[in-house]
Point group: C2
Chain length 512, copies 2
């Protein structure tokens, strides 16, 4: 069975959650990273876990400030225990700008986590109401569902009415950092007309969201006026909503992007709440044809310039990346981002490795996501099967999160993250020893694994059977292999005679 356990830190109120899977026999339990938070049904707000730590510090500074001062905060220690590393490693990575710990002082309900390429690869799930669909309760349910399956952060991309109320319900019930794209609400405030957008309307929106507790915000400050014409020859132009809004504004006024010109003021607001920047890639490619083009790369250079300004204000930064990129152009994205953005964490949307499979873009993009994470991307923004087609429902959220947890874990393995392979080894050992229940409990999605097994072999005895439905009782290769294992371990030549004389019983019961 899987159950939640807590590991105590250096003080009583640092209690770090894990999902512990108990295994049969004398197999040691396996502890897995856990994002599900405290149980909270119905959702009436989570306990303010971090409130005492925030209160103790008095005047609030950012985690980047403390890290640079050599101070390990309770948040850093909490995140370090989750990662299985020394707290000093978390502090060092944050101080160097290579990692962020998104944690608005007004979101004390969140369980601290760290995003950086030296740590486990993280997954973000997007939710949110839109003008044509969805409601507040539904979105809170999606939040809980997403974190249950492993979402490390959730972005509320609500548009339309009830943006404030939806966000309030989400932040108060979220055990993970919440991100937003404030330009959506700012646009609502000016009646939906990009040309009426002003710095003041945007600033007020930022303050409103920071007051609510949003932990990181996507800011499309790199969409510069002179970059907009670079998108004209593209197959799919500008596909980022925020990017296209800012491009329309710049173009209509023939003025520089106000997010760029007011960036230092933005930093001052962000620093007051410890909101982290997610510097948006408003000019990301929306098709294979547009990958790694001039517009995308020009914006990336500007994001690197803005990163340095944010760091001067002790504000944490991550950099958003594409999008749609064929496999052979993926590595270049990471290499350039590292170089130009001074190793700030990279946060990519996929990328999709082909455009031809709408309805399966969780798969087209899981391929790209796994690869880009292997090369160093710190967090992956999920893509659901509904991408390009409609709004994700509950099933789509789960499909997207699972596909991305697979991509993230595959990258953790490829990067040799300490402890990552222990999970695979435990599951494979259970599989080899026909410990079906252990195999299900260790699976990323125990419910579906069990259900699929039941479809072919529903009876309870099949759960303890030393074979499976693919080969049946006579042919099972795992079973034969186990027997070989026993015989070979005893000395091949001596045992081969005994093996044959026993009547070729390769199907002897195995003690596992």
């Amino acid at each position: 069975m899987k159950r939640k356990v807590h590991v105590q830190g250096s003080r009583d109120d640092i209690r770090v959650p894990f999902a512990e899977v108990e295994l049969s026999g004398d197999n040691p339990p396996v502890r897995l990273y856990d994002t599900s938070g405290p149980l909270n049904d119905p959702p009436t707000g989570l306990p303010p876990l971090r409130a005492p730590w925030i209160a103790e510090r008095g005047v609030e500074r950012t985690q980047l400030y403390y890290a640079r001062q050599g101070i390990v905060t309770p948040e850093m220690e909490f995140a370090a225990i989750r990662e299985g590393v020394e707290p000093s490693v978390v502090r060092e990575e944050i101080a160097a700008g290579r990692a962020i710990l998104p944690n608005n002082v007004n979101h004390p309900e969140s369980e601290p986590m760290v995003i950086g390429s030296r740590f486990l690869v993280k997954v973000n799930a997007n939710i949110g109401t839109s003008a044509v669909s969805s409601g507040v309760q539904e979105e809170v349910a999606k939040l809980t569902w997403a974190t249950r399956w492993g979402a490390d952060t959730v972005m509320d991309l609500s548009t339309g009415k009830h943006i404030h109320a939806t966000r309030e319900a989400i932040v108060r019930n979220s055990p993970v950092p919440i991100g937003t794209v404030p330009i959506y609400q700012a646009l609502e405030k000016v009646g939906g007309d990009p040309l009426k957008l002003t710095w003041e309307a945007y600033r007020d929106t930022i303050v409103e969201q920071a007051e609510q507790g949003v932990d990181y915000m996507t800011v499309h400050a790199g969409v510069l006026l002179r970059y907009v014409p670079m998108t004209v020859g593209r197959v799919t132009g500008i596909v980022s909503r925020g990017g296209s809004i800012m491009a329309a504004w710049c173009l209509a006024r023939h003025e520089e992007n106000f997010l760029y010109t007011h960036f230092a003021e933005l930093c001052e607001i962000f620093a007051r709440y410890d909101v982290a920047f997610s510097l948006g890639d408003g000019l990301r490619p929306g098709s294979i044809a547009d990958a790694n083009d001039e517009a995308q790369l020009a914006e990336l250079r500007t994001l690197g310039e803005l990163t340095k300004i944010a760091w001067e204000h002790d504000v944490q930064v991550m950099i958003e990346g594409p999008g749609h990129v064929p496999m052979h152009k993926i590595k270049e994205n990471v290499d350039l981002q590292k170089e130009w953005c001074h190793e700030a964490p990279f946060y990519t949307l996929g990328p999709l490795t082909t455009d031809v499979a709408p309805a399966y873009d969780h798969i087209t993009s899981a391929i790209g996501a796994a690869m880009i994470a292997m090369y160093g991307t710190a967090m992956l923004c999920y893509v659901t099967p509904k991408e390009h087609l409609g709004l994700p429902n509950r099933d789509d959220v789960k499909a997207g999160v699972i596909a991305y947890k697979i991509a993230a874990h595959a990258a953790d393995l490829a990067k040799g993250h300490p402890g990552a392979q222990a999970w695979d080894d435990a599951l494979s050992k259970a599989r080899f020893e026909f410990r079906w229940e252990d195999q299900f409990n260790l699976a990323m999605d125990p419910d579906t694994a069990r259900a699929y097994h039941d479809e072919t072999l529903p009876a309870q005895p099949a759960k303890t059977a030393h074979f499976c439905s693919m080969c049946g009782p006579k042919f099972c290769s795992m079973k034969i292999s186990q027997d070989l294992h026993e015989y070979a371990a005893l000395g091949m030549e001596a045992k081969s005679a005994e093996f044959a004389s026993s009547g070729g019983q390769v199907y002897l019961p195995v003690v596992s």
Copy 2:
């Protein structure tokens, strides 16, 4: 709409099928590779397309023989037209052993296709009855279903009763090459006891299957006695059914694998029918822990040795590969296979890039499959969501085929296969221009893409709407981007004033 068209070759009876997608407006139609074969419902046997070509040649030789003689057969020309290359390229690649054209003379119903790293990446779907489940009609339905969604070859892995009858129904109704693993039936013939297996029983099975028209056969001739102990320290031992059967045989008798010792005789039989070898990787890793280990690589070297022997007999060869491999160890598999197996086509099962997600192994393995194909694997054996858990049903077959067609196409793009990106570009252009019906028709799975769109915006007008459900009519970034495109194309500065004076109408109707 999508419809089947045929391209005429150099003679009247070379008529190569394509799926042609007609697009709206003045957009040219897009022709896609088509594996679905002639419609045949109910399945009463397909027309013997290749019968005249086989009859004309009189004494039958293999495609490898003809290619080496400088002869372009009708089969080679047919395959070349499908690939969009010159027939001489197909001939040269086959002659060099870098490609195979599996086409048993007794399977004249098959539409010729070529497997090699210079050509489009191919996908195999496994079907077949087992001891505990499934029937003949069901398996023929799976065959038709698999080729409808793009399976390039199908392997009949039936075990249990009715093996012969199942295979007969499959071969007679298959427009794609059929592969088998004859050891399964040979084992049935000796009562299911590996120790009773003999070369004679195996040989008779090979002849029986070759007579029926099986196009390629997996032969585990590389599982040598001395390699078996190398698997003892593994987490998951031997996971190949054929590999474990041969290992049990070798171990019990302390004799060398009879498939290895009789390999030349096997070649003589294969040559008579032009059956191709799929040299099986009986010692492939079954877990991340076991990837690229001594046992796997020792067998691979032996497969290279056997490749040369097969080529001496003019028999076509491909090499099977893993299995379970973490991302950072994938490339080594291709590099060693190319070197040790003299560039014979590589045919891999995935590989799965993590063990922890049973029920999602079509995704864990699509990641590895896309990567290994990018590095040069010629054909990918699909993995369905039921892998490790149960037998794939119709839905699982489709899920597996689609995931693998995505992986294969992503690799075609990454390898820069001529024409591959035209499909992506056509779909992305349709997406950018809100040609919803064109987008659906170009999708790998039009049915599901249309259904997902209908879930959020079911009304017919939504199919012609210049926005989608993600952003709604006001926010749509594609729409804004299109307007920008129009303005920017006319000269930025001059137009920005006009743009603003028009009342900021960024949502003008667009003529697409």
